[in-house]
Symmetry: C2
Subunit: 134 residues, 2 copies
């Protein structure tokens, strides 16, 4: 069912410092900061040959990653995203096994303009998993 | 400098339950458990089209992930691994920027039989980063 690893999202306490480090110390291809007010984050995409890293920084008062950074002030890996062909079919297969989907279970439009769902980390080895329909 | 994302490693409290979930609920291609006594882990590889997920479970008394699971009993993402062409050149570039390498800075043979180094998470947004020479 799951396809490619679409991205690894890393929450960071200083977005430009993190971007500079990926560009300088790691020599990676680092994009510009992009505000995504609907998602409460500013994002920088790092393009690797086979997938992406997304550096996330809180934007606005109700950012979903503010609490994560409170608990992890140095930053940390926030979630991983797997691609699926059919998000509703994936959700139904998952919930049939007892796995919980965050929110009301309705796909939302994610940061890439595509439908996404998040799975409950307690049901997935402590890992926040995003599914994105591609 | 960094190339492909080689893998995402997830430490899990119940290896077979995690494997069953990736196989069943997520429909992924899940390999058999592999004991790696030199690294203190039992590993299951999950093959995605563009990269791998490694499920890690402690093996032996001095497993490097036992403490992580003590702190994160539900499991969690343990590290990410980037590929590099020249590990010693990568190390020298990193340490020149002030980033610390774990241990004595000498590449070790990693779980895939290739030279690896780990970077200090405090220098990389709270993320444990492995570099593997491919």
């Amino acid at each position: 069912m799951i396809g490619r690893l679409n991205h690894v999202a890393i929450a960071v306490p200083d977005l430009m410092a993190a971007a500079d480090q990926y560009r300088g110390a790691l020599g990676a291809e680092v994009g510009p900061p992009l505000d995504q007010p609907d998602h409460g984050v500013t994002v920088i995409f790092i393009t690797l040959p086979n997938t992406k890293i997304e550096l996330l920084y809180p934007l606005g008062d109700a950012s979903p990653i503010a609490k994560f950074l409170d608990k992890n002030p140095a930053g940390g890996i926030h979630h991983i995203c797997y691609e699926v062909d059919d998000l509703v079919a994936a959700r139904d297969r998952l919930t049939a096994t007892g796995a919980r989907v965050l929110g009301d279970g309705t796909p939302k439009i994610g940061a890439h303009g595509k439908p996404v769902l998040f799975l409950h980390p307690k049901d997935f080895q402590g890992t926040l998993v995003e599914l994105e329909q591609v």
